[in-house]
Amino acid sequence: MTAVPSEVRQLADQEYQYGFSTDLDTDVVPRGLSEDVITMISAKKNEPDWLLQWRLQAFRHWLTMEEPGWQNVDYGPIDYQDIIYYAAPKPKASLSSLDEVDPEVREMFDKLGISLAEQERLSGVAVDAIVDSVSVATTASKRLAEVGVIFCSFSDAVQKHPDLVRTYLGSVVPYRDNFFATLNSAVFTDGSFCYIPKGVKCPMELSTYFRINTADTGQFERTLIVAEDQATVSYLEGCTAPMRDNHQLHAAVVELVAMEGAEIKYSTVQNWYPGDAEGKGGVYNFVTKRGKCAGANSKISWTQVETGSSITWKYPGVVLQGDDSVGEFYSVALSANHQQADTGTKMIHIGKNTRSTIVSKAISAGHGQNTYRGLVKVLRSAEGARNYTRCDSLLIGSECGAHTFPYIEAKNSTAQIEHEATTSKVSEDQLFYCRQRGIAEEDATAMIVNGFCREVFKELPMEFAVEAQRLLDVSLEGSVG
């Protein structure tokens, strides 16, 4: 067969549909990072002194650290003194109900397809909406409070539930963890907090929607989810950003804690602005996500669909501390245009009979480079630990790349670890077969890609699965010339 069809090459020309920006009256701190800036952020948020001290400790430690260089991505130097670390839409007044949310903010979310009012009334999903550095609205909090579930912005949690925050903040990702997590610990601005008390099955999906709006702003949010004994929760996270010519930094930290018999399911559909066809602009997404199965028989499941960002650097992991605990990681990562993704997971087996499953589906198109990097570590104590890993890569066109770096460390001889990996191309023969049946080339490509991802999509909550499929279709759009 001859060269790659032009339709497939034009995958690079995909349109980003969330690229608008909104004019909001915004409160920002001066560019750059110093103890003064951190103190100013902390003061703006009216934080207790222990939290300010924690931030400053992190900052001092960060000054001694070097930006990591081991990842398989390529980007210019980041000037950390040229970033705005705090930007908040100025509230008209303090909010007592959703009706008081700034109409411009509401409109922005409507445009993103997330009607805050409707979310509250119609769907079984509670939403925390975060613009730049602060949470602008949290829906359904009252209904959740009736069963004892706390779901609020991180800032609110610091004010209203300081003991819980103090107990768990940094308990899974300590402030010294890594360069980006340490930076986040120093400057994090807002995020979601979620606490499910003992024995409670959270009655609805919880969801946070992140939006970077202000130019030159970094977003450093921090999410903390704690599920007490036998509690269960399903949590969704979505992200977008305006199209801007310069890069924006997003360095978030997510910590999950699951006590005995608890289950946390964390799903992400990440659609940060990926940059244009030449690789100009786009979000640098350096994120640390980790869960701790602290109690026996607990379970943490990460599902991620990564279609955005110019650079993705994230390894949602699970520390399997409790005996018989279960960790799962299901991932679809698409890199088109000049996007680069270095993503995967870490499964740390500590408890007995702990099990982990990793399913990674990487799709590369255009000049996209996709790397799976995963660590499966079985400590001496993890008698009978099991892991199953499957990494599949799908290439569309001939100018993209797929790479796999699995790391396996087993210190207990009873461990069973399986690793399977495949690399395939959307073949001309498959496309011809579909087209011969009447299915247009673009639809056929989308169908084959969606089929490739099905194992992961079926792990997503219903509404999200549809959203994820649509996102992939959009990302593969513009393919028929």
């Binding site: 087209r435 049946r437 009447g438 299915i439 169908m447 490739f452 099905r454």
Partner: protein
């Protein structure tokens, strides 16, 4: 009516079809036989719209210039190819695939899309034709199917898409006698006054079940001999070698012999 005139197909310097001429009137079943490498499968793929070849010549189908159309447009115009090696599409349900295909074609023809429920009823009916177990519908397209199951799946697709020109590329290869009978029954049930079929095969065996109106023999990129169903039996007895230049004078021969 399908009319092929002086069709040539090449890959690079290599000429595979060297001037094929053929007419298939509506409602007729024509068999194309010939040894390996004679160009039979290439002819099938070229008719279905494969872009792997450089082409010259004309193919007219019901007055349409077939070679000018994309594969999907040909499908919408009623052309169907039962593949010799059907593709596997992991993760895509068979039923979903078929409904997408049918609705894509219906859309081009200006018909309403068929809903999931109506489609399922229709698919169940057609599955009986090829004695296919309903469990196949929820499995991924051809993934993990045996050779026979894949071929039955092709005939099922044909039954659902109801083409007016069906090209069967070695549908009998790799089938045991029971599977062959099932497939042949399916094909026969789809014969009709408006549906032309081009049945490509190595073996006489299939033609015992699917009795053709005409038989053509291909060799070295051309049709060298044509005849009625008796020709297939002769080939079975004497082999393809007897269809060389010495037989060029046969009354039924239309091909030009090299």
């Amino acid at each position: 009516m399908l009319r092929i005139e002086n069709l040539r197909a090449a890959v690079g310097d290599k000429l595979i079809l060297r001037g094929v001429n053929l007419e298939v009137p509506p409602g007729e079943v024509h068999a194309i036989m010939g040894p390996n490498g004679s160009g039979k499968s290439t002819l099938a793929h070229v008719l279905a719209g494969s872009d792997a070849y450089d082409l010259t010549g004309d193919v007219h189908y019901n007055g349409i210039d077939l070679l000018a159309l994309s594969p999907e447009a040909r499908a919408a115009a009623g052309v169907f190819l039962a593949f010799q090696h059907p593709m596997e599409i992991p993760g895509v349900g068979n039923l979903y695939f078929l409904r997408t295909a049918l609705n894509s074609i219906r859309k081009v023809r200006g018909l309403d899309e068929l809903g999931a429920v109506d489609f399922l009823a229709e698919a169940r009916e057609k599955m009986k034709l090829v004695e296919m177990d309903p469990s196949f519908m929820s499995r991924s397209v051809n993934e993990g199917f045996s050779g026979g199951e894949k071929k039955r799946n092709e005939i099922l697709q044909m039954a659902i898409l109801e083409p007016s020109l069906a090209i069967l590329d070695e549908t009998d290869s790799g089938l045991d006698i029971d599977a062959l009978r099932v497939v042949a029954n399916g094909v026969n049930a789809l014969r009709g006054p408006e549906r032309s079929m081009l049945v490509i095969t190595h073996h006489q065996r299939l033609l015992d079940y699917v009795v053709p109106d005409r038989v053509h023999v291909m060799a070295d990129g051309r049709i060298v001999t044509s005849g009625d169903k008796g020709l297939a039996r002769e080939l079975e007895e004497h082999g393809y070698t007897s269809q060389g230049p010495a037989d060029a004078g046969r009354p039924e021969a239309v091909g030009v012999v090299s």
